[in-house]
Symmetry: C2
Subunit: 451 residues, 2 copies
């Protein structure tokens, strides 16, 4: 099923000597596997493979390819050939392609494509890439509601080859307004002579073009949809989004979340495909920003030098106390980010979440505080009962602080209109570290007496 890695060196040899033979072998593959194969070839061989493949096969493979790599290869293709392949691609992938090419190359490609195809791309380019409009295809079947089911099936058969899906067709009025959806299933099950209007679902779930793709995925999951029509405010049918695009969106969003939660800017390509220095850039930004925040821990510790000199045991517990606050903060933020992602909680729930995390922090902080107090009291030679009490109380305070800040920060970021997943563990930990040192030292000074 999946093409073996072992085949690649052999195939490269064949490609070098006889591209036509290599293409013949490759055309036996599923287009998704062919895309994966081309993705693994060096640039020059990938281009020669695309040239040798039949145009239908090449376009199908390009439809299934990872967008970043596809854009790279397109720039190495002969431009006339590139325009012909783009014309054979599916409309939604074609739009993605033009979006990921440098402006000049994209414009040239549009100029070389047949006029109706380029007009369609321009229309779809108006929508943001990550919206329902950016994910939709205009390649659907729309029919008049008064057609009988038999006539409708005939139409579907006539149009099937050029449409992306016929599993779902749409009944529209002469102005293009959506009246209802009819699944191929409903048509097959209908009695002879019934008009579409009597089998269609007039209350079909539809979405506006500006809907964010995460919300779109939620609609698909909630209603178990295979396709959803995209309509404007006047219920004009603009296009449809199919479930395979939503599966892709979900895979991408999952991968993006993982990166953001690790304080890495999202990348397009894979771990090894992405250039070393690109990763340096994607990682250095957040890392340096957080580092600049963490520098304040040094300043705070310098500020309290007198206390540290008076009680040398104080500093022994600093990493333990601040990391506990940061870890609880990570937990709270991950729960809130998850809740926001699933639509279970919203910015409106701020007060309820604050109250819950406040209590949660007090409970969890008490657990850690008791263990910390025992450690300070019983092990080492670190300062006696007063010190142990200070450690225990600081743990309760810092864990509670971490829990509340960790929970509220993603809400605040969401309220400002950004992706809450950027309030990653490292980011929250740096906030809690600085505050945690101040909280701990203040408590210690009160209990042990000012130096």
């Amino acid at each position: 099923m999946q093409i073996s890695n072992l085949l690649i060196p052999d195939l490269e040899e064949i490609l070098k000597s006889d591209p036509a033979q290599a293409a013949e072998l490759a055309e036996e593959l599923h287009s998704s596997d062919l895309a994966e194969l081309i993705d693994k070839l060096p640039d020059d061989l990938a281009v020669s493979m695309l040239g040798a493949l039949g145009e239908t096969e090449a376009a199908a493979a390009l439809d299934a390819m990872e967008p970043g790599r596809r854009a790279e290869l397109f720039q190495r293709l002969d431009r006339t050939k590139a325009a012909r392949l783009a014309d054979d691609m599916s409309p939604d992938e074609r739009v993605d392609l033009v979006q990921s090419l440098p402006d000049e190359v994209g414009a040239d490609l549009l100029a070389r494509m047949p006029q109706d195809a380029s007009r369609e791309v321009r229309a779809l380019l108006r929508y943001p890439e990550n919206s329902a409009g950016g994910r939709m295809t205009t390649n659907f079947v729309a029919l008049a509601p008064q057609l009988t089911v038999e006539r409708a099936i005939e139409e579907v058969r006539r149009l099937a080859a050029e449409k992306e899906t016929i599993n779902e067709v749409y009944a529209v009025n002469p102005d293009g307004k959506l009246l209802g959806a009819v699944s191929l299933r409903d048509m097959v099950l209908a009695r002879a002579g019934q008009p579409l209007s009597s089998v269609m679902d007039p209350e079909v779930v539809s979405v506006p073009p500006e809907m964010d793709q995460e919300d779109l995925a939620r609609v698909f999951a909630h209603y178990n949809l295979l396709a959803v029509p995209v309509v404007d405010q006047g219920r004009q049918l603009l296009g449809i989004v199919t479930v395979d695009d939503v599966v892709t969106v979900l895979k991408e969003e999952q991968a993006e979340d993982i990166q953001k939660l690790g304080a890495v800017q999202p990348t397009e390509g894979g771990y090894f495909q992405t250039d070393f220095w690109t990763f340096v850039r994607k990682r250095a930004g957040w890392l340096i920003a957080i580092f600049m925040g963490e520098i304040m821990t040094a300043s705070v510790l310098e500020h309290y030098e007198a206390a540290r000199r008076a009680f040398t045991a104080i500093e022994v517990f600093v990493p333990l106390i601040i990391s506990s606050g940061g870890n609880t903060g990570s937990q709270a933020s991950s729960l809130v980010i998850r809740g926001l992602a699933l639509g279970e909680v919203g910015v409106r729930d701020g007060a309820r979440i604050l109250w819950r995390e406040l209590r949660m922090g007090l409970v969890l902080g008490s657990f850690l505080g008791i263990i910390g107090l025992m450690r300070a009291l019983l092990v080492g030679h670190s300062g006696g009962g007063g010190m142990a009490l200070a450690v225990g109380m600081a743990l309760i305070a810092c864990v509670t602080f971490g829990s509340v800040v960790g929970a509220l920060l993603p809400l605040a970021i969401k309220a400002l209109g950004f992706d809450p997943a950027v309030s990653s563990g490292p980011f929250i930990a740096s906030l809690v570290d600085v505050a945690g040192i101040v909280i701990y030292l203040k408590i210690a000074i009160v209990i042990l007496g000012a130096p």
Copy 2:
């Protein structure tokens, strides 16, 4: 489209006085919205709603409900009624239901269901919940390959009402071996008189029942599938998995990853649905485990007391240095977890990843090292050139260490057969904190001279 929250109090009033009227209102909703509505009602009213609804509507709503809550409600239903509703549910949801009930209640439910339904549930219960077998339904259409397309469509029409999907039907030989798949689309497009065998796809992608659901989602995404047949080693057709289940899997996995990466044990229910003390348990475990590891930071600092007394500026930079190592470790681990999730990297790539993260750590560490050195040299009164050099070098060493450990740990966890997402930022940070303090203090002692 979505039922307004405002409606709920009104509906509760109607439910209390006249359940039949409330059910009548509710039956106008999409079954997914009805499920959401029931989910929001208090237990007793939810049960009375399920009792008042028509059995088909109630079963459809139960199909769409969150499994944890559904299991709770089932235990409050009259047992005969519960068995009738379970019998009307779709087979894969029915299996999930029995799995999530206490053993005794599940067994009782099975005993009250018609024999063929309970036999089917028992057969499906053999497969782990998170496998292709656990996600599949046995409710598909299987036909003989020699049927003409017209006869096949007649069969599909006859069977449609009781089958989960007819978008894809399967050609099997008399022993139940899978010969190929035919989409409803292909049947509609076929010429009259063609046998199924000439329109079916004999190389249809299939999966084994033990395939993990994450890999299953990857297969759906790779091949853009709407359904996939599940076959055993002898290609016996056991069931099919449909794309709506995969969308659910992806939503669940995404939510689970977010929790694990925040060092929280995954929960079934939502943020507010989950009981406060359940969350305490889910969070306290990891938090205390990490805390016990972090306690070593205190021991290490106590061990180096002489050095800290000789150079009081040393401790000022401890939080800064160790957090930098932890943050780089979080980044590296998130990239590797992402790569593993997408299937881009594998355990076999350990050496390449090690080499890459080693270089990455040196580069990123140098950036932070230079900033740290400048800070130590220019601001505050913290120890002069030797100290600054020690801070800079320790940053390079700790960031490199963090990067390498962060990248290799998820691989090691994966190699041991566990989910790499448990190597969360907090977990890695605790490892790096202890090692980081040792690295830093050793470097400082070498540069500043042993006390």
